[in-house]
């Protein structure tokens, strides 16, 4: 056996490097399931769609010309969610089969807006966002109008497509609504 010199790789050096490589490989293989587990909320949303049609109740519960608070159970929930899987929304019955269903979450930072029928305004308690009865932004910091769910009426029952906390990058289901004056 020859004496190892600087340019030669000794047996032990080689084994150490192979050992490190093996560990690196094992970790890389382990990383896949770990990241898959961590990112599962995203993958799950892409696979089975968080948004589903949920029932709000018979149309007769929402008198024409009025805006009322109602709530629904989130279509995706766990038994230990308690009441947090309940979601509130404002239902505006414009006339006949025409509705607007707004998320309670202010488009600014998500606080719950309240409806004031006397002045026909939604007001937010957190940073002073105000919206008109059709959800358009009236004043304050919100960058857009209220988030609006798509709805449909099946056999006299009002359904909306919901299930995800509306934020600026996930707008419930909504058509973009421009901020502006309702007049």
């Amino acid at each position: 056996m020859s004496e190892p010199n600087d340019s030669e790789v000794s047996r032990r050096d080689l084994f150490t490097k192979v050992g490190l490589l093996l560990n690196g490989l094992a970790l890389a293989i382990l990383a896949a399931p770990v990241f898959g587990y961590l990112l599962s909320p995203v993958f799950r949303g892409r696979r089975e769609q968080y948004k589903k049609w949920v029932t709000l109740g018979p149309v007769t519960e929402f008198p024409e010309g009025e805006t009322r608070l109602t709530s629904f159970r989130s279509p995706i929930s766990a038994p230990w969610d308690g009441d947090t899987d309940k979601t509130a929304c404002w239902v505006r019955h414009i006339g006949r089969e025409r509705f607007q269903v707004f998320a309670v979450n202010c488009a600014h930072l998500g606080c719950p807006v309240r409806w004031f029928p006397q002045s026909g305004l939604f007001m937010c308690p957190c940073h002073g966002g105000v919206y008109y009865q059709d959800g358009a932004r009236a004043s304050g910091p919100p960058p857009r109008g209220l988030f609006e769910y798509s709805y449909k009426i099946v056999n006299g029952t009002l359904l909306i497509e919901a299930g995800q906390l509306p934020t600026l990058s996930n707008t419930a289901s909504l058509s973009e609504r421009r901020a502006g004056c309702a007049g």
């Binding site: 979601t87 600026l168 990058s169």
Partner: protein
């Protein structure tokens, strides 16, 4: 006594750390650094210990489930023997820890202690500050009341503003599509395992560096830090004018730490635990969420920023601030340490302190928010109704019923979102009042659709009475010339165009 010695020797033969401990205990520190100004770091460490112990104790009972967390806190408050006190100590300990860490940071900044060779100590300190604030925020989430729930909503909304990946970030933050069970468990994991683990590691490193490099000497104007000579100068200083850390310096740390623990307990006894507030049911929209004390300034900033600047500021400002703090010692690592020769540093700190203080103070009464129950709760000032015509009184009724009061104060009560209207008639003429009511503008919603012409007439008639007795109402040139404004103007609302 002999027994103790035998046991001591048995352990020392195996551990062999006696010399290291003796060296640490007796290491020499500059005489002037054995000062009351140098006690905040050790106080922060003491508070961290207190938080670890009380946190573990609370975890004996707390249930990290969205369905049960709030109930388990009520149980801690009311049914577990002294549970309320432990919760109070943990809550007040958190406030004290954030405060002491901030004071410690200001002291280190003013004393130039972040300069060579202690740059890395400062940078680790920046991480410790971020982690401490992270503990404060996640701790507030674990309280899982309405404030916590809507606070999470705000966190999600901010994440949702990140371009491109915002939607995915929200899902990762919440552990699903909504704020629910998995949101709480991940914040529990962050608060109880992840961040405390990181804190222990970084605190250890921070302390190691303090011991290795020695405590900062008292900054003297004109004593310049030079990288080439610093170690030698510091060594000479501790040799010539140094004292052993124990007992010459440590007694002040011990006194201050004890005072801090007693203060935390006193606050806990006097003021009790924090919440939990309202039950976390998202269908209860009659709630006014507010963050804990150390995030109030942020709450104010978010209300006061112009809407178009909000997303850039929210996403870029933290990067700039953290980047600045990390780069600070690398950029200005040498030179003067004394605050007497660093006016920009002193002014920066003062401006920051005054700004944060102002925002925090503003957040206490949040003038930017409508007062949601002013219209139904605040009595109407009688003086404003005396000697008024029926039309004007009708207008006062409109003013109250249409929630004008939620944003406009009169008689010193009501919202502060808009200007107070006690003297509005001196500022706006009849026609201007009609226009403002119908069209809105300047952050006021347009009421054209929600007021009948008769209501507008009455409301404006009332508003025109709002002026001091010795100061007449504003009048337009047309009114002055006798061509009095047509009271029927309100009956023909203008066509309002989009802005």
């Amino acid at each position: 006594m002999r027994w103790l010695k035998i046991i001591g020797i048995w352990f020392e033969e195996r551990l062999q750390i006696g010399d290291a401990i003796r060296g640490t205990v007796a290491h020499r520190v500059p005489r002037e650094s054995a000062s009351w100004w140098y006690v905040f770091g050790s106080a922060a460490l003491t508070l961290f210990g207190l938080q670890l112990v009380t946190g573990v104790l609370l975890a004996l009972v707390y249930v990290p489930s969205a369905a049960e967390a709030w109930n388990s806190l009520q149980y801690l408050n009311h049914s577990v023997y002294l549970g309320w006190f432990l919760r109070a100590v943990h809550g007040w300990g958190s406030n004290f820890m954030v405060a002491v860490v901030l004071v410690h940071m200001c002291q280190v900044f003013l004393f130039g202690a972040y300069k060579f060779p202690r740059e890395l100590t400062w940078i680790i300190g920046v991480f410790l500050l971020i982690l401490t604030l992270g503990m404060a925020f996640t701790g507030q989430v674990l309280r899982f009341d309405q404030d916590a729930y809507w606070g999470l909503g705000i966190g999600a909304s901010i994440s949702g503003r990140v371009p491109l990946i915002g939607g995915y970030l929200v899902q990762l933050l919440l552990g699903g599509p909504i704020i629910a069970g998995e949101t709480l468990t991940r914040f529990f994991t962050i608060h109880v395992f992840l961040v405390p683990g990181l804190l222990i590691g970084f605190v250890g490193l921070h302390l190691l560096l303090v011991l290795k490099l020695g405590i900062n000497e008292w900054p003297m104007p004109g004593r310049i830090v030079r990288r080439s000579t610093y170690f030698q100068e510091y060594h000479e200083l501790t040799k010539k004018d140094g004292v052993p850390f124990v007992p010459d310096a440590i007694w002040k740390d011990l006194f201050f730490s004890a005072a801090i623990i007693v203060s935390v307990m006193a606050c806990a006894l006097l003021f009790g635990p924090f919440g939990p507030g309202g039950y976390p049911d998202p269908t209860i929209v009659q709630t006014i969420p507010k963050p804990d004390f150390f995030f109030r300034w942020l709450y104010a900033v978010l209300a006061l920023l112009p809407p178009e600047m909000e997303t850039p500021v929210l996403l870029i400002a933290p990067v700039i601030v953290i980047g600045f703090l990390i780069l600070l010692p690398l950029v200005s690592g040498a030179g003067e340490k004394s605050w007497r020769r660093r006016p920009v540093a002193v002014i920066t700190l003062l401006v920051l302190a005054v700004s944060l203080g102002t925002f925090t103070k503003l957040a206490a009464y949040s003038p930017w928010s409508p007062v949601m129950d002013a219209w139904s709760g605040d009595p109407f000032p009688v003086a404003y109704l005396k000697g008024r015509t029926p039309l004007e009184r009708q207008g006062a009724l409109v003013f109250q019923v249409k929630q004008c009061r939620n944003c406009h104060a009169i008689g010193n009560s009501g919202g502060q979102r808009g200007p107070s209207l006690d003297r509005v008639a001196t500022a706006l003429t009849h026609d201007q009042l009609i226009r403002q009511v119908i069209q809105g503008g300047g952050n006021m919603p347009a009421y054209g659709k929600n007021l009948s012409p008769a209501e507008v007439t009455a409301l404006v008639a009332f508003l025109e009475t709002l002026h001091p007795p010795n100061q007449p109402a504003a009048r337009s040139a047309a009114q002055i010339n006798g061509a009095a404004a047509d009271h029927g103007a309100a009956s023909a609302p203008h066509q309002i165009e989009d802005e």
